[in-house]
Symmetry: C2
Subunit: 343 residues, 2 copies
DNA sequence: CTGAAAGCGCTTACAG
DNA sequence: CTGAAAGCGCTTACAG
């Protein structure tokens, strides 16, 4: 490997001068600088990361930790869009990105969340949620005061920053959009409690609150279907719910786009087609009309922007050498689509 | 940051003994080992990466370089499935994963492909293709003899290893499957030459060769549509081609799943429905029947396995301290689907 | 403007 | 079985 000494020898100066040129210090004669630069170019020298870290304590790398497996389609989109925003900010700041997949709970008992940080391999961590952040991790984060930003979850810890969408408001607004098109009986499809998905739950709360505020003539909670992720279960749950309801809803708000395809199929089993017989609104913006033959009205989360913001918060904490809880809540815009029609 | 010295002080030994315990050396009294281990646990010590790298020259990190932007849906799947295989092997080998997005050609003139390696931030590189690997990069890779494996492309360099699918064979087999179902006039949809996509081109060659071998009564090249990625262009190209053909094909082989949705729509413009009026076979296995309302016959690439193999080749070269060109060609299995019917 | 010294956290011989 | 010394590649004062 090429070192400062090699460059120094070739240029006929001491390695300290090489260090000065690398770091763009001003106290180097122009002639010397040119000689050194020529030697650097000739040898293809780049300063060893390890040597720099040892001195600066900064490694210009951050870790992205996430429990989302790489191959699960819709969740992959969620993560990739966030990642795209993070990457943009990292690139600007000349910071590298390390990826770690947090194993399923219980799968790998001795998995060490914070190893990269404790090893000083990264300066900070961005955790991309969707599944609740593990309690042990939050505790150690707090104890060690390490720069960390969580996306998509709101840890209570006094030291852990987070970036999230306003799911309650978005749920509320979803009902508002549907209601304004004349629908007076609206159903919600959410997740079973065992998933502990605060995001979908908040959308559900927004759904209920909006219907109360608007004076719906039925009990919102009677029109909530709780189902599972990416599963055929959804289809059956939808069918069963519809059969149990005496008065059928004219619109459905899916708390996540993952439920949309199976909901549509479940409705088809009942002889109902979207949007002719019933309207439908999704959430997330992952269902692409190129692949799904219905242009779904939805609430696309500003994932890219959230990724960027998370990275910015993290960098400000790293470079400021302090850890202070910062939070950001993003509103979710409505995006109209053919699946939502007037009642 | 906690260092070996801190642990040594707490345990009442020298930091060298701590180093021994960390590295599991045998020449440490059991009693001492326990004392040291207790101190390590108490302080939450982990050996600094930088110190280790400086000594061993090994950093237990590899870089994944790819020109695929994070947000492009189908290409995202391609990359993520490969990544999933790589990650699996990395986890087993306790190696970390660094991600780098190679900018569009010309976008960032001073982008330095090999910086992470020259900085000794990674031990080797896996390049995930889909767009041809940049010439400058290949040259520098060869010059520096750095451990590198390319996935999805076959660089000529004597030193760069690669892992790829047998696209010619797969293209040939696609025609074989279609032909065996009685189709005697089959069209191909590929990419315009300007994309330099060797993979799709090889499938095209397999398509042509198969038709020749089977004694097709027409010139295969007359039934090749060349289109662009992810674009509405495809729809128009399909329509135009169909209008120009006097004898219509009874089946179409899409050289990539990206073309499938728009091809289906283009056919619809002509009043043709799949598979009732015309059969269709895709390639890649990205079109999920949950989201696309047609179960497409296709050739799913063994991406996960390719990722694993690439990582294994890379690790063997890194730990062996040699760089030798190794290559692996994966066959692509056929996966039947409703879109391909008997003629 | 340039160089010798010390030290960052670690490991690898070498002594004892 | 344990420790003192040297060195990995770098930067940061300090001297000149």
């Amino acid at each position: 490997m090429v070192t400062q000494k090699d460059v120094a020898n070739l240029a006929g100066v001491s390695f300290i001068t090489v260090s000065r040129v690398i770091n763009g210090e001003s106290n180097v004669k122009e002639e010397t600088r040119l000689k050194v630069q020529a030697a650097i170019d000739q040898l293809g020298y780049a300063p060893s990361f390890a040597g720099q870290v040892l001195n600066s304590g900064r490694c210009n790398t951050i870790a992205i930790l996430t429990p989302i497996p790489f191959y699960q389609s819709l969740r992959t989109f969620y993560m990739m869009r966030i990642l795209s925003g993070i990457e943009e900010v990292c690139r600007k700041n000349k910071v590298d990105l390390m990826m770690g997949i947090v194993p399923e709970a219980g799968t790998e008992p001795d998995y060490d969340y914070l190893r990269p940080y404790r090893q000083k391999k990264v300066d900070g961590i961005i955790y991309i949620g969707l599944r609740q952040i593990p309690r042990e991790m939050i505790e150690e984060l707090g104890k060690r005061k390490l720069p960390c930003v969580v996306i998509g979850d709101r840890p209570k810890s006094k030291l852990v920053s987070w970036v999230d969408t306003n799911n309650f408001e978005a749920g509320y607004n979803a009902v508002k959009e549907i209601w304004s098109r004349g629908h007076r009986r609206i159903a919600f499809i959410g997740l079973k409690d065992e998933f502990f998905n605060a995001n979908v739950m908040d959308r559900e709360k927004g759904f209920e609150k909006a219907l109360e505020d608007f004076g719906a003539k039925y009990k919102p909670s009677d029109y909530i279907i709780k189902t599972a992720f990416d599963s055929e279960e959804t289809r059956q749950d939808v069918k069963a719910a519809f059969l149990s309801w005496k008065k059928k809803p004219t619109a459905i708000f899916c708390g996540a786009d993952s439920f949309v395809p199976e909901t549509v199929k479940g409705l088809k089993l009942l002889g109902l087609s979207v949007p002719k017989d019933i309207s439908l609104v999704g959430f997330d913006g992952f269902i692409n009309s190129t692949y799904f033959n219905l242009n779904v009205a939805t609430f696309p989360q500003p994932l890219n922007e959230m990724g960027r913001r998370a990275a910015e918060i993290l960098f400000s904490q790293i470079s400021g050498n302090f850890v202070k809880k910062e939070t950001a809540v993003f509103p979710v815009p409505f995006c109209a689509g053919d699946s939502l029609q007037n009642a």
